[in-house]
Symmetry: C2
Subunit: 390 residues, 2 copies
């Protein structure tokens, strides 16, 4: 009765872990949410008023599938600031970046089509590609991004529909591609005519150092589809994200979007547009950066104190996550069970690996918990970890 | 490079016609929008304030894929009023009903899977099913709905994944299923274990007579997936709709939705929920019904006066559309070209017919144009129609 693609369908393990999160006293490093206390609630209230008084019923009516022109014009300016000369034909609004992944799957993936990803990769992307029965091949990645030589080697063997990457403060690892790696990857993409899907939800949440150019900018828009979102920089509840890329390809994405949901919610788009016009955006980003940087530092300081020395972790220079590597034989899932008993949670890393490796890895979220909870939660984890005999 | 499904992809002809609609002086009977002047803008402004002061950042944060529990509880009560004993496990929120059609396609349609529809049928549904490469077979329909005998006969030949119907004030025809037809269809569905997708965006917009039970209610929830929406009863811009049905099947839809867009926008769901609590809903529906009834009557009165007697049309007892049948050899597309020159537009019917028939039919929307424009627009159409020599 069900379609073939449904046979192997499974719910995200993360969503299953999240069920425990409402338990009283639980400290969650398992989530992937931005800090709600930083949402600009008062400014959004003003934006709602403004939108309804300026646009009236138009803000509540159907609107075009591509997304509001005024909002897309602002995104064109944003791209222009990165040296990209584009028009509103090069930008569409999607229902979160997750929808862009669904639409890209619709456009490119037949049953058994090959898709390349990082190893590990973003779970929501894997879920979207698997829904269309893609065959996923993970390209080895290190602390500066995907291994371009390994990619070139693989490209000589088989040709994927596209390579999906998240080059800034990756979910799950927090890894950021170096400038050198970006340039090498763009060169390889152009040489092999490889399409890159560049997912950049966290790029603006940079804590230190220089913001590196997107692959989309480096490639001058060629061979790259660029996804970004207002979910982490304003609030996720509006589901307003955008995709930039080749105009002809976006036209097809728009037709696919017609059948998928007609359009992204009009009111949310107007609110985001109004908020951007209010000038609060940059101030608010600065506050988010400062807060998350403080939380990352607190988490690392606590880990240095509480975690056994056999563990290793990175120090992401932005975003919401850091990545912990346990000794080879340890199993993060088993450790999670014990941690849940101590009312602290993280996400075991294995599910993020298309090749099934990574049993001894885990993802820690530092954007949501308070400084106090970070200290206490890491202490609880440390207690469990110290009891493990490898 | 693109997936196979993209090869035959085409944009909706309706969306192409809508491009002409911004021309000055154009009178559009081609749209499918509710009347914006009836949107409860002031009440929505209050709801926004209330939502932000009651729920604060929670209203802007990620929320569960199934949809807000408070909103789903209200929908469960609504279903209970129709004699259906259900829980929140039987209802999910979707990004418009269009997304429900996408998710149902994901759940059931493999390449070349068979789907039954009415003839004509809703274009957005055809688009969603075709994106998943369904084979669509149209079952003959008359002025009381689908021909159940023809359906039974077809079921003996081949088995579809489901039958898609819109039994109240159908888009495009305005046809409503009689009670007898509903009962016969439910009996056939149970006997043949046929799944029915019942799409009901317009059911509450009834102008006269008794509101008939849904197939979902008649079948006590068995064999039927029920879709409805707040797009036509509050406003489309929030993209808040819902699907009711078997809990196990909805669980799979939820997993499919995770990969499609994670969730429907949180803020829009809270606003709809708050508006429902405000008690304005029923009053507002009464105003919508009165207004649309008046516009339908005005359109029919004008058509009786202005259209040649060789044309026939129906008198829908609700909804937003009526249906015109031209003499057999006339071509509605050609007539549209001439009408556009006179600054009046409608939608030619042929595209709604999966079997390619219906060249001599057209859809008229009476929910959006003002009474004055209805009179003037029908007069312009009448002038063109009178010049046609069949």
């Amino acid at each position: 009765m069900y379609a073939e693609r449904i046979a192997n369908l499974k719910s995200s393990a993360i969503r299953d872990i999240l069920k425990h999160m409402s338990r009283p006293g639980m400290i969650a490093f398992a989530g992937g949410s931005p800090a709600p206390e930083l949402f600009p609630v008062a400014e959004i209230a003003v934006a709602c008023e403004q939108v309804l008084s300026k646009y009236g019923p138009t803000a509540l009516q159907y609107s075009i599938t591509e997304g509001l022109v005024v909002l897309r014009e602002k995104l064109v300016s944003k791209l222009a600031a990165n040296g990209l000369g584009m028009s509103t034909d090069n930008v569409i609004i999607t229902q979160g970046s997750q929808q862009a992944l669904d639409l890209i799957s619709k456009l490119f993936i037949d049953k058994d089509s090959l898709v390349f990803t990082e190893n590990p990769s973003y779970l929501g992307a894997l879920q979207a590609f698997r829904m269309f029965q893609a065959r996923i091949a993970a390209i080895p990645s290190d602390s500066h991004g995907i291994d371009v030589e390994a990619l070139r080697k693989q490209l000589r063997v088989e040709r994927p529909k596209f390579l999906y990457i998240m080059p800034n403060f990756q979910n799950p690892t927090g890894v950021t591609y170096s400038l050198e790696r970006r340039k090498a990857l763009v060169a390889a993409a152009i040489e092999h005519d490889l399409l890159i899907v560049e997912d950049d939800p966290y790029g603006e949440l940079i804590f230190e150092g220089e913001r590196l150019p997107s692959l989309f900018a480096l490639a001058k828009g060629k061979n790259v589809i660029y996804l970004s979102s207002f979910s982490k920089t304003i609030a996720p509840g509006f589901r307003v994200a955008y995709t930039a890329g080749d105009a002809e390809m976006l036209k097809k994405m728009v037709i696919a979007k017609q059948g998928s949901d007609l359009q992204t919610n009009t009111f949310g788009q107007y609110i985001v547009n109004e908020y951007l016009e209010s000038g609060h955006y940059q101030t608010s980003i600065d506050v988010i950066r400062d807060t998350y940087r403080g939380r990352r530092d607190a988490m690392i300081a606590a880990m240095e104190q509480e975690f056994p020395s056999a563990l290793a972790w990175n120090r992401p220079s932005g975003g919401m996550f850091l990545w912990v590597t346990l000794p080879t034989r340890w199993d993060a899932k088993e450790i999670l069970e014990r941690c849940l008993e101590q009312n602290v949670a993280f996400v075991p890393g294995q599910e993020f690996f298309p090749d099934g490796s990574g049993r001894n890895t885990l993802r820690m979220n530092f954007s949501s918990p308070s400084l106090g909870n970070i200290g206490e939660g890491v202490k609880r984890m440390g207690k469990v970890l110290k009891e493990i005999r490898g």
